[in-house]
Symmetry: C2
């Protein structure tokens, strides 16, 4: 079996560390591994398969001899270094938003639109975490019963803003429990025992960037520009799994909850969690650390005859980020195109 | 000015204590005060206007000579004792769900349907907290631009399940920060750094009781059985303010966000919080302890030409419970019917 020279750009971040862990856990065919980060993290040592790997500074020369690079170092670093990586002959799987809406860059969830990989020109974009978790629950239904409109409200974990934001949630919570005022630094507002609208810029139409990503990326991934989406994105004091309340209106008659449940249960990467007697449905602490997106509370919408309601939770760092990226690479290998 | 003999049933609970505090803060015309609770809390001493009041055991005889009783001791105690209070000539303002859907019991938010008070037969029901907070933002628009359908997702605080649930959120959070597993006792699932679907029974249609309350109470309060409502109710690790993401579809053309904002800004009990530059919108920590329901993120729904989106936060114990109850009593006095 062929093995690959792999780089991780942003290796010391919350997603970067999950890339590293997953490459080992999934026995990814790694011939050599290069860990890259900003000069601030240069020299850090991270273990991979029992060996110490020293983090190097990310430069335009970092990718020579690399077959594959996972980027998770923010949009500006992706814009700066991904083209250089591509020129070096490296296939880039980019977790940032830099290239997601570029018409020449495929935006891929491997369970949903793997064939889009065929058209890549060196960069493949990993969708936004909230979009991935949404579509893992919506696309399996959409393929069978076309969806007309989605109304989604999110309950997003601190991890989406990185490792420092996860630490801030813990630190602030300790401050509040000691009777002190929380001191926001990563987030614009206190996150301990609080919630706030997603901390991305609000545009002239009143939608913030995270909401806009969910709308535009959904259409691109499902190849359906007529699909209507509205989203309200909210940060909640949860560490690393996003949840979403999803209202799905179908173009034609809605499937029964049982039919929807059956289709979702058969979809790879989805797990139904619906124990009515124990009032147990998808929860972030159960989604955290797992590969599956949990789906439950599937019910007919009492307010609309062509709609269903459901609730989902998925690990933001795994299926929402690193796992999906690794799965893209695995799919490229399966297709013989890496 | 006439003063009233007042009782609080459930005086030692989270809502009961807010009733007590608000009666003092708002200088309610109290001639005498009787604090009632279960035998477990009998003998506790609570201050009111600088005097110690001893909690008595709630019995059928507790209401003799009382003009007005605030009930917040749970549905079964309301069903058991409210009729006895009414027989004693006491007007009951009941914070439980026991009588809310009784056709002979008015269900009142004083800013919205005060005229329904005229028809009371001794008991007036205080709506569910999530319903009050929803309708404070929806009704002002509905009066001017009739609403056809509401899709709401809630972010509900621990206080809705009482003082013990608020303590459980704190205690569990301390446990988790010490590296221990959280131990749920009031809630069925861990609440620290987690969230879960509202802990009320799920019916055959897949909706839980809290969601059903939001649907049915909305129609009763707005006198509009054609109004379509769907809700997903979720508990989040927040202490005492509920938030809600609300999608409102109008029967005819939607108002512009500016027109909606202007109407809401002029409605008593509503405060607009919309600072786009600072990314500051309604948050539970800003709603907590305040009387106003905070409304923001008012925007055209990009997915539906006749819909608006908005986000609200309101103190669950105040406008969601005790404050609304006191306002009902104040409105009765204003109308000369107490």
């Amino acid at each position: 079996m062929k093995a690959y020279h792999v780089a991780i750009a942003g290796a010391t971040g919350a997603v970067g560390k999950e890339f590293l862990r997953l490459l080992e856990e999934r026995n990814f065919p790694v011939a050599s591994l290069r860990l890259l980060a900003s000069s601030r993290s240069e020299g850090q040592v991270l273990p991979f398969r029992g060996e110490a790997h020293t983090v190097e500074r990310l430069t335009e020369q970092s990718f020579q001899g690399c077959d594959l690079a996972f980027f998770s170092a923010g949009g500006s670093r992706s814009r700066e270094y991904a083209p250089a990586a591509v020129r070096s002959g490296t296939v880039v799987i980019d977790n940032s938003s830099a290239f997601r809406m570029d018409p020449q860059t495929p935006l891929v969830i491997p369970e949903i639109n793997p064939d889009d990989l065929a058209e890549h020109r060196g960069i493949i974009a990993n969708p936004n975490c909230s979009t991935i978790i949404l579509l893992m629950a919506v696309a399996p239904l959409h393929f069978k019963w076309p969806v007309r409109r989605i109304v989604v409200s999110t309950y997003q974990a601190a991890s989406g803003a990185g490792a420092a934001a996860m630490r801030e949630l813990i630190t602030q919570t300790e401050q509040v429990l000691r009777g002190n005022l929380p001191e926001p630094s990563v987030f614009p507002h206190p996150i301990a025992f609080n919630l706030f609208l997603h901390n991305s810029a609000v545009g002239p139409d009143g939608y913030n960037e995270e909401e806009r990503k969910m709308i535009l990326e959904t259409r691109k991934i499902l190849h359906d520009d007529a699909l209507q989406v509205t989203a309200t994105c909210v940060r909640v004091p949860v560490l690393r799994a996003h949840s979403e309340a999803i209202n799905i209106e179908f173009r034609n008659a809605a499937p029964s909850p049982d039919d929807a449940r059956q289709v979702l249960a058969g979809f790879p990467g989805v797990r139904i969690v619906e124990d009515v007697a124990k009032n147990r449905f998808p929860m972030p602490i159960e989604a955290s650390g797992g590969n599956d997106v949990l789906v439950g509370r599937i019910r007919r919408d009492l307010s609309h005859e062509r709609a269903l309601e459901m609730f989902v939770s998925g690990d933001q760092l795994l299926k929402g980020a690193a796992l999906n990226g690794i799965q893209i690479a695995e799919e490229l290998i399966r297709r013989g195109s890496l």
